[in-house]
C-alpha cells in the first residue's frame, strides 16, 4: 500500500532530513512511525503525501507513484496533518462540501458519512460554524472527517492524538482499527508510545533520517534482545544512535532533544 525505496531528502543540500530509507506498509495493517523531534518523520510524511518531492528514490501509494502519477496517488489516501489550521474563514460544512467535490464523492454518500462521522466525533452541532471558532481538537476532528470522506485505501496521520480529548482519542483509535479491518491501511506518526504499542501492527523507528528498526513489537524485542516496553526500546535505540552520530566534541549542539518526553528516570 505504501512503498518507499531508497528515499532521501535534504534541505538546501546541507541538512540530510531523510537518508536513503526503504519502507513497506502492507494492506490491512496499522503502521506506527516513531522518532524524536527532528528525526525525519514529518519530512517522510510530506514526501509520501506529495507536499515535498524526494531528492532520490521512489514512493508508491496504493500502487501509484506520487511523483509520476500524483492525482491517482492522492485520490487513494486521506491525510490528517499535525497542524489542523485549515481554511479558518470557511464553515465546517463548506469545508466538507469542498473536500467532497474535489474527491468526487457522491452527494448522498457524502451526506451520510458526514452525519455519521460528525455524530461519532461530537461535531454535529458545530458543522454550521466557521472553523476559526473551533478549538484545536475540534479542528482536528473536522480534518479527520474530511480525510475519511472518500473512504481512502490509505489513511495517513501526522501526530493525530495531539489536542484530542480522551473520548475523541479513543474514537480515533477505534476508527483506525475499523479502517484496517475493512482492508485498508493506516500509517501514522506519533510521540505517544503507549498508543503505538497498543494499536500498531508494526512500527518503524526513525532517527537522523535513517530507519533504525522496523517490524512488529515481537521483532523489535528479538532484535534488541530485551523484553522491555516499546518506550524503553525506543529510548535505548535513540540514545545509541545519538552517541554514534555525535563523533567529536566540536560538533555543534544542534540535537538537543534526545529525550523528547522529558528526562529519563
Amino acid at each position: 500500500m505504501i512503498e518507499l525505496q531508497h528515499v532521501s531528502k535534504s534541505y538546501n543540500g546541507k541538512i540530510q532530513a531523510v537518508d536513503h530509507i526503504d519502507l513497506s506498509v502492507e494492506r490491512g495493517e496499522i503502521f506506527g512511525f516513531l522518532g524524536p523531534n527532528g528525526a525525519g518523520k514529518t519530512t517522510t510524511i510530506k514526501m509520501i503525501t506529495g507536499i515535498l518531492e524526494p531528492d532520490t528514490g521512489t514512493i508508491q501509494v496504493n500502487g501509484h507513484d506520487i511523483v509520476q502519477d500524483p492525482i491517482r496517488a492522492k485520490r487513494s489516501f486521506g491525510f490528517v496533518p499535525d497542524d489542523p489550521n485549515i481554511f479558518p474563514r470557511l464553515k465546517a460544512i463548506e469545508y466538507l462540501r469542498f473536500i467532497g467535490e474535489i474527491y468526487e464523492v457522491d452527494p448522498v454518500v457524502r451526506r451520510q458519512r458526514i452525519s455519521q462521522l460528525a455524530e461519532r466525533l461530537g461535531l454535529s452541532a458545530a458543522l454550521g460554524d466557521r472553523i476559526q471558532s473551533f478549538s484545536h481538537g475540534m479542528r482536528q476532528k473536522l480534518i479527520i472527517i474530511g480525510a475519511l470522506l472518500h473512504q481512502p485505501a490509505v489513511w495517513i496521520l501526522d501526530e493525530p492524538m495531539t489536542g484530542l480529548d480522551p473520548k475523541a482519542a479513543f474514537e480515533l483509535k477505534e476508527m483506525m482499527r475499523e479502517h484496517v479491518a475493512a482492508g485498508n491501511t493506516v500509517f501514522f506518526s506519533t510521540h505517544v508510545l503507549d498508543v503505538a504499542e497498543k494499536i500498531c501492527d508494526r512500527v518503524a523507528i526513525i532517527d537522523h533520517g535513517k530507519i533504525l528498526l522496523c517490524g512488529t513489537l515481537a521483532d523489535l524485542r528479538a532484535r534488541t534482545a530485551e523484553d522491555a516496553s516499546l518506550e524503553s526500546m525506543f529510548l535505548r535505540l535513540v540514545e545509541q544512535e545519538s552517541e554514534q552520530s555525535i563523533p567529536a566534541a566540536s560538533e555543534p549542539a544542534a540535537r538537543k532533544p534526545r529525550f523528547p518526553w522529558g528526562k529519563r528516570k
Binding site: K46, T49, G50, I51, L52, E53, P70, I71, R72, K74, R75, F79, P81, D83, N85, I86, F87, P88, R89, L90, I93, E94, L96, R97, F98, G100, E101, I102, Y103, E104, V105, D106, P107, V108, R110, R111, I114, S115, S124, A125, A126, L127, G128, D129, R130, Q132, S133, F134
Partner: protein, 574 residues
C-alpha cells in the same frame, strides 16, 4: 513603574512589537541574501514614496500660500495644517490602535509575560505613535516648512515647528486610544473581530473618498473663492478641533504668535497637556485594556446543529459529482476566503470595485476649470454627438488602460498563492492538477476583475448615454485587458509567493508581487494607449490593436502558464 528600568522595558517591548511589523518582513520567501536586498529595496521604495508624498503636500502648501498671500489670509495656513493633522491622527490612530492593541497576534503571547499593564500599554502606544510620527512627518512638516520659508520666519519658528511636530500627535492619539478602549470594553459589536475590522475598514474608505472629494474640489477653486472658503469653513474647523482636542490652540499659537517668549510659552503649555494626557492614558488603560482584550474572538459561533434539509442543501445532495463541480467549488472556496477575510476584502475585493470611483472623483469634484477635465468633457461630448472622429479611438484606449490598471492593482492574482500562507500545502495534497488549481485562482481574479470594471463601464455608458456600438467595441477589447494583468500576476506569484506570514495583512500589503503587478499593468496600459494617441490611429485600427495583440499575448502567456504551473508548484516548498 516610573523608574528607568521600567522605561527601558517599555522601549525593548515596543521595539520587539515594532520589528514584527517592520520592513524586514516586506520581502518574499527568498534566501537570506535576497531577503536583505528585497528589504533594502522596500526601504528605498518607502523613501521614494515618502519623498513623493512630502513633495505633494509641500507643493499644495506652496500653491495655497501664493493664493492666500494677496488677500492676505496666509496666516491661517498653520491652523489648517495643524487641525488637519490632528483630525487625521485621530481617525487613522483609532485604526492603528485597533490593529496594534487588539488585533495583533502578539496579544496572547504578551499577556502571560511578567509585564505591568502600564508597560504593555506604554509599549503599544509607542508603536502606534511611531507610525503616526511617520505619517505626520509627511502631512504637517513639508507644508509648514514651506510656510516658514515663504513667510521669511526666523529660527525660533523652525525650533517651535519641531516641538509642535513632536507634541501634536500625542493628544489626539491618546483620545483615539481611550475611545477605542472604551468601545472594545463595553460594546458587544466588537466581539467579532472580522466583522468589526471589515466595518472599520469600509468606514475608513469612505473617509478617504470624502477627503479625496473635498481636496479635489478645493484644488479647483479660484483665489477669491478660496479666500471666502477659508474665512468661514477653515476657521470653523479649527475652532471645532480646538474644542475637541485640547492643545490644538497652543500648537497653532506657538506657530503664529509674533512674540518668541509667548510662542515658547504656548509650546510649554502644549507639552504639559500632552504629558497629562499620557498619565490619563496609562490610568485608563489599566482599567480598560486587559478586560477588553481578553476573550476577543475572531468569529462568533452559534453551535446550533444544522437541520436535515440544511445539511442536504449545503452538501449539494440532489446534484451529482462532476469534474466541473470540483473547479467551481475550488473557485467558491477562494472567493469565500477573499470576501470573509477583512484584509483581503478591503485590499482586493472592495478596492477592485471602488477604484473606478476613486478615478471618477477628481472628475466629479472638479469644476470646468481644470484643463484635463475640460478635455475629457469635450471628448465625451464628441462621442455623444458623433462629431469628433478622434473621440472614439481615444475613449476605447482609455477604457482598455483602465481595465488593465484596475486588474493589475487589485492584487487578487498577485496574491493568489501568498494568501494561502501556511496552508499552501493543501494545494499539494489535493487530487486536482496544479494547472487546474491555478486556473481556478485565475478565474476568481478574472471574475472579480470583470465585475469591478464591468459595473463601472455599464454605469459610464448609462450615465453618459454613449452609443451601443462603442460599448460593443469595448466588450471586444476587454478579454485581453482582463487576461494580461491577471496572467502576469499569477506568474509573479508562481515565482515569488510570500507564504510565510503571521498576519494576513503581510500577504497582500507586504507582498512585492502586488507592486510588480502594478508596474506590469502600467507598462501594458502605456504600450496600448500611447500609439493610439501619438499616431492618432483611426477606430478600426485602434480596435484591432487593442483586441488582437493582447489576445495573442494572452494566449502565449496561457500556454506558458500551463507549462509553468506544475513545474513551479512542485518547486515551491511550503
Amino acid at each position: 513603574m516610573k523608574s528607568m528600568p521600567a522605561l527601558r522595558r517599555i522601549l525593548h517591548l515596543a521595539l520587539a512589537i515594532f520589528r514584527g511589523n517592520s520592513f524586514a518582513n516586506f520581502s518574499g520567501d527568498a534566501q537570506t541574501k535576497k531577503k536583505r536586498l528585497s528589504g533594502l529595496g522596500s526601504v528605498l521604495l518607502f523613501i521614494f514614496l515618502a519623498g513623493y508624498f512630502a513633495f505633494m503636500t509641500g507643493g499644495s502648501a506652496l500653491a495655497l500660500y501664493d493664493l492666500l498671500a494677496p488677500v492676505p489670509l496666509q496666516v491661517l495656513l498653520p491652523g489648517l495644517y495643524v487641525s488637519s493633522s490632528v483630525l487625521l491622527v485621530f481617525v487613522f490612530g483609532a485604526l492603528y490602535v485597533l490593529s496594534v492593541f487588539y488585533y495583533a497576534s502578539d496579544v496572547d503571547k504578551l499577556l502571560p509575560l511578567p509585564f505591568y499593564p502600564e508597560e504593555v500599554i506604554g509599549a503599544k502606544f509607542l508603536v502606534v505613535a511611531a507610525y503616526e510620527y511617520l505619517f505626520v512627518a509627511g502631512v504637517l512638516l513639508p507644508p509648514l516648512l514651506v510656510y516658514g520659508v515663504k513667510s521669511l520666519a526666523a529660527w525660533p519658528y523652525f525650533a517651535l515647528l519641531l516641538g509642535v511636530y513632536l507634541l501634536v500627535p500625542l493628544i489626539p492619539l491618546v483620545l483615539a486610544t481611550i475611545l477605542t478602549m472604551l468601545i472594545m470594553r463595553f460594546t458587544p459589536l466588537t466581539k467579532n473581530k472580522d466583522r468589526f475590522k471589515a466595518i472599520a475598514g469600509i468606514l475608513l474608505l469612505f473617509v478617504s473618498i470624502g477627503f479625496s472629494y473635498v481636496s479635489s474640489s478645493l484644488s479647483t477653486r479660484s483665489g477669491a473663492d478660496l479666500a471666502a472658503f477659508f474665512s468661514t469653513r477653515v476657521e470653523q474647523t479649527a475652532r471645532l478641533t480646538a474644542a475637541v482636542f485640547p492643545g490644538t490652540t497652543f500648537a497653532v499659537g506657538a506657530l503664529t504668535t509674533r512674540s518668541t517668549p509667548a510662542a515658547f510659552g504656548q509650546l510649554a503649555l502644549l507639552a504639559l497637556l500632552s504629558i497629562l494626557s499620557l498619565v490619563i492614558l496609562l490610568a485608563a488603560g489599566r482599567l480598560l485594556y486587559f478586560k477588553g482584550v481578553i476573550g476577543l474572538s475572531t468569529a462568533a459561533s452559534k453551535r446550533k446543529a444544522l437541520s436535515s434539509d440544511e445539511l442536504d442543501r449545503q452538501l449539494g445532495v440532489g446534484g451529482s459529482p462532476r469534474p466541473i463541480a470540483a473547479f467551481a467549488v475550488y473557485m467558491q472556496k477562494d472567493l469565500r476566503i477573499l470576501v470573509r477575510t477583512p484584509i483581503f476584502l478591503m485590499n482586493n475585493v472592495i478596492m477592485n470595485f471602488l477604484f473606478p470611483l476613486f478615478l471618477a472623483i477628481p472628475i466629479l469634484g472638479a469644476g470646468t476649470q481644470d484643463e484635463d477635465i475640460r478635455q475629457l468633457q469635450v471628448l465625451v461630448q464628441g462621442l455623444v454627438d458623433g462629431t469628433d472622429p478622434r473621440a472614439a479611438p481615444v475613449f476605447l484606449a482609455i477604457v482598455f488602460g483602465l481595465v488593465v490598471f484596475v486588474n493589475g492593482t487589485n492584487g487578487i492574482a498577485e496574491s493568489a498563492l501568498s494568501r494561502e500562507g501556511s496552508q499552501f500545502y493543501i494545494m499539494k495534497i489535493l487530487p486536482m492538477s496544479y494547472s487546474r488549481q491555478i486556473a481556478a485562482k485565475l478565474a476568481v481574479a478574472m471574475a472579480l476583475g470583470l465585475a469591478g470594471t464591468g459595473i463601472s463601464l455599464v454605469l459610464l455608458f448609462v450615465v453618459l448615454r454613449l452609443p451601443l456600438w462603442l460599448f460593443a467595441l469595448c466588450v471586444l477589447t476587454i478579454p485581453g485587458a482582463l487576461l494580461l494583468p491577471n496572467l502576469s500576476g499569477i506568474i509573479f506569484e508562481l515565482y515569488w509567493p510570500k507564504l510565510h506570514w503571521d498576519n494576513e495583512q503581510k500577504a497582500v500589503k507586504q507582498n512585492m508581487n502586488v507592486l510588480y503587478g502594478m508596474v506590469a499593468a502600467l507598462i501594458i496600459a502605456g504600450l496600448a494607449i500611447a500609439p493610439v494617441i501619438v499616431f492618432e490611429l483611426p477606430l478600426p485600427v485602434t480596435t484591432g490593436l487593442l483586441t488582437v495583440p493582447p489576445l495573442v499575448l494572452a494566449y502565449i502567456l496561457t500556454r506558458l502558464l500551463k507549462w509553468l504551473a506544475p513545474e513551479r508548484m512542485r518547486a515551491i516548498s511550503p
